[in-house]
Symmetry: C2
Subunit: 146 residues, 2 copies
């Protein structure tokens, strides 16, 4: 899965430094970032590594999401590396609208609540999107309230 080296191709300089897949490059990049990145930010940052088109980035992100390594933040149109690549557990993201920080949590109670709700409604949940927007602790102490 996730390919493997693509080998020589056209021998287009050594620039692409051999044996890493685009998915690996994208994941490594996301792990280095403090905040979620949009696909086009990733594209921009990895251009020198041979990632040259949106398609390439989105393909890599698809792989990584399927593998549970990356999660899309819907309300930001951005992508972030999971802290603990546990595909099973639903992450909750706290998104600070002041500084842009995003922190990931895994909250058992929330997961249970969703299960309970679905028992009532007959709905079969497959994937939950839990994003809480507001003001993080740091920003609250720095500027008491807007």
């Amino acid at each position: 899965m996730l390919g493997g080296s693509r080998g020589g191709s056209t021998g287009k300089s050594e620039g692409r430094s051999g044996r890493q897949t685009h998915a690996e490059r994208v994941l490594a990049h996301l792990r280095r970032q403090e905040k979620p990145q949009t696909a086009y930010q990733i594209l921009e940052d990895l251009r020198s590594d041979g990632v040259t088109a949106p398609t390439t980035v989105y393909r890599a992100l698809d792989h990584l999401v399927a593998a549970g390594d990356v999660c899309r933040i819907e309300s930001l149109n951005a992508w972030t590396a999971r802290l603990t690549p546990s595909q099973g557990k639903t992450p909750v993201f706290e998104i600070c609208e002041h500084c842009g920080s995003v922190t990931e949590h895994v909250d058992t109670r929330l997961a249970r609540d969703i299960a309970a709700l679905s028992r009532h409604t007959g709905f079969q949940p497959e994937r939950s999107i839990l994003e809480i927007r507001g003001r993080c602790g740091s920003c609250r102490s720095l500027e008491p309230a807007p």
Copy 2:
């Protein structure tokens, strides 16, 4: 607020039927729809009512969201009328990936547990996005499982 009649303008036929604001038109339209609509779907459908540009739709949606009448479904890039325009309570949406139906709920436990999580993390929640994707009851009975 929300404008008021725009009056005669250029007298461009009676087509626009006087005294309704764009926001009112958009809200009425969303209430008539079974499923959330994208901004451009709304634009298309209300073109004959004098809604002619994306800007107009987005401005109307902004008003309606601020008033608590409409909610954006982040994972669909679409907009839906709230069942009960209660701006205070956080809605949870169950989104069927099979038939596209979206149902709104207000779950007290979920709300409580978000509050509890934020007490632990020091985060001050302002707006929560709770979207559960999966398979609705009807689709489950029609086609047991994919």
